[in-house]
């Protein structure tokens, strides 16, 4: 089974109309779909994904694409996405702080 995020990338304006206050994980990317940041909306997030993505966009004005997954397992999925990114690109996205993470070698 694939564990990568396969949700479609959306432009910021469109995404703002669709994002809700759910728990979940998200990715921000530039116009080349290069992931700039991976984040999550957890139990302390005001307005869930909508609020977290909004805050992240203020810090990363160069981001122009966003995609997300609604999930209550936001912490494990967040770590999984970071580990996958590091597996695929050898490092975390530029805007993610270093975090003690395990090593994944996904099939496919």
């Amino acid at each position: 089974m694939s564990i990568r995020m396969h949700k479609p990338w959306l432009g910021i304006a469109e995404a703002k109309g669709l994002l809700r206050g759910n728990l979940g994980v998200y990715q921000l990317a530039d116009e080349h779909q290069q992931v700039l940041y991976i984040g999550f909306a957890g139990g302390k997030s005001l307005f869930g994904l909508k609020g977290e993505v909004g805050h992240a966009l203020q810090r990363l004005p160069q981001a122009c694409l966003v995609r997300w997954e609604v999930t209550s397992a936001y912490l494990t999925r967040y770590k999984e996405l970071l580990m996958l990114h590091r597996h695929d690109f050898g490092e975390l996205p530029d805007n993610n702080e270093p975090l003690p993470l395990g090593v994944l070698r996904p099939a496919g």
């Binding site: 089974m1 564990i3 957890g42 139990g43 302390k44 999930t71 209550s72 397992a73 936001y74 912490l75 494990t76 999925r77 770590k79 999984e80 580990m83 003690p100 993470l101 395990g102 090593v103 994944l104 070698r105 996904p106 099939a107």
Partner: protein
């Protein structure tokens, strides 16, 4: 069984209780409600304190530098350590240290040098690789991972599921079938370095928990030297079984700790919360919930302490451990559920720990052998050879 605590037990329990309330619980105000890790600086600071208390590495045998502590006291401490939001799966966030994999205390000296001692020094981590997609409750029959001898090495192929900590480990214990015997006599335990070619952590298995995840592993022509067999060839099941039995007591104790904390919160809340002009505590329906909680907690505690006392005495404690695991996990779930009901909407919100405990407590009825398997173990102990 001695029912009175000694002065020393009282003292050490009070010390840990204070530590949980004054050092651990306040940090949780700023953490994500599902967090299972502290900031590195906080963890380091608190480990310094547990070392100063002489309580670091509680599960390490005295011969290897751990404190000399009996299982009854250890169980009572586990009950205390679980009394915070993350307490069920991350009691005190690991600030009391761990023993690593207890099975390594029986390893060869060469294996101890390479794996055990670095683990005790905090330089290496290990994982316990027993369960497979084919099942975990009946490992003797469910293990399909195979190891085939090739000169001085063994070649392992297969996979494991529900394995905690494998993605951060430097080595692990992997149980594989090494003989045609389909039962318990054909399983061997190998110590496997996670940088061995063919070893891979394929994915995180997402569950009701949002932290402290399990992983899925695959082994593809993984070559392991014969010197890395732990114990004897084809005798690995005894290693697994011993661990499963011992693990049931602290597993039960964690559930009791959370139940005690939930009940304490409910007892504080219901006299304050008014409905229809009277406090909740005046309602018989609420009183009965509190009474049922108290009975669930006391039953679980005594059964678990009996199991610990039996283990301390050196007698067979399989039946008592299975009863403790069965009773405490089921009672813990009921207590948390009742407390959520008393707190109403607040009970299901992430503002309070009940919803996390509710999710995690549900897993406890399955993890380390589901309730049905515990009943099976108890029945087998009661009926002996007459049970087929």
């Amino acid at each position: 069984m001695q029912l009175e605590l000694t002065a020393e037990q009282d003292l050490v329990i009070a010390t840990v209780r204070r530590f949980v309330r004054e050092e651990i619980a306040p940090l949780e105000f700023d953490l994500d409600p599902d967090a299972d890790e502290l900031a590195a600086a906080d963890k380091e600071r608190l480990i310094t304190k547990t070392k100063a208390m002489g309580l670091y590495g509680l599960d390490i045998p005295p011969a290897f530098g751990g404190p000399d502590i009996d299982l009854v006291t250890r169980t009572l401490l586990a009950v205390e350590m679980a009394q915070h939001r993350a307490g069920l799966y991350a009691p005190c966030y690991g600030t009391f240290g761990g023993a690593g994999l207890a099975q390594l205390f029986e390893a060869t000296e060469e294996q101890k040098e390479k794996y055990l001692y670095p683990t005790l020094r905090g330089e290496k981590r290990g994982f316990f690789g027993l369960s497979e997609p084919s099942g975990g409750s009946d490992p003797a029959r469910a293990i399909q991972t195979r190891a085939v001898r090739d000169g001085d090495d063994w070649i392992i192929n297969g996979g494991k599921l529900w394995i905690s900590g494998a993605d951060k480990a430097q080595y692990g214990l992997v149980f594989a079938r090494t003989a045609n015997d389909k039962g318990r006599n054909g399983v061997t335990c190998f110590i496997v370095d996670t940088d061995t070619p063919g070893f891979a952590v394929r994915r995180i298995v997402h569950t009701l928990r949002s932290a402290h995840y399990a992983t899925e592993l695959s082994f593809d022509d993984m070559r392991v030297p014969a010197s890395n067999i732990l114990g004897e060839l084809n005798k690995g099941f005894a290693i697994a079984n011993d661990r499963l039995t011992k693990q049931r007591i602290p597993y039960a104790a964690g559930c009791i700790g959370v139940a005690i904390k939930a009940q304490e919160m409910a007892l504080e809340y219901v006299p304050q919360r008014e409905t229809f002009g009277a406090p909740l505590s005046s309602r018989q329906s609420i009183q009965w919930m509190l009474v049922d909680n108290e009975i669930d907690i006391k039953q679980s505690l005594w059964i678990t302490l009996e199991a610990a006392a039996k283990a301390d005495s050196g007698e067979n404690f399989r039946k008592q451990a299975a009863m403790a695991k069965l009773v405490a996990t089921e009672a813990g779930g009921r207590v948390v559920d009742r407390c959520m009901q008393m707190f109403g909407g607040l009970g299901v919100a992430k503002d309070l720990p009940f919803e996390r405990w509710f999710r995690e407590m549900r897993i406890r009825r399955i993890g380390e052998g589901p309730s049905e398997v515990q009943r099976h173990v108890i029945a087998r102990e009661l009926l002996g050879s007459s049970l087929r």
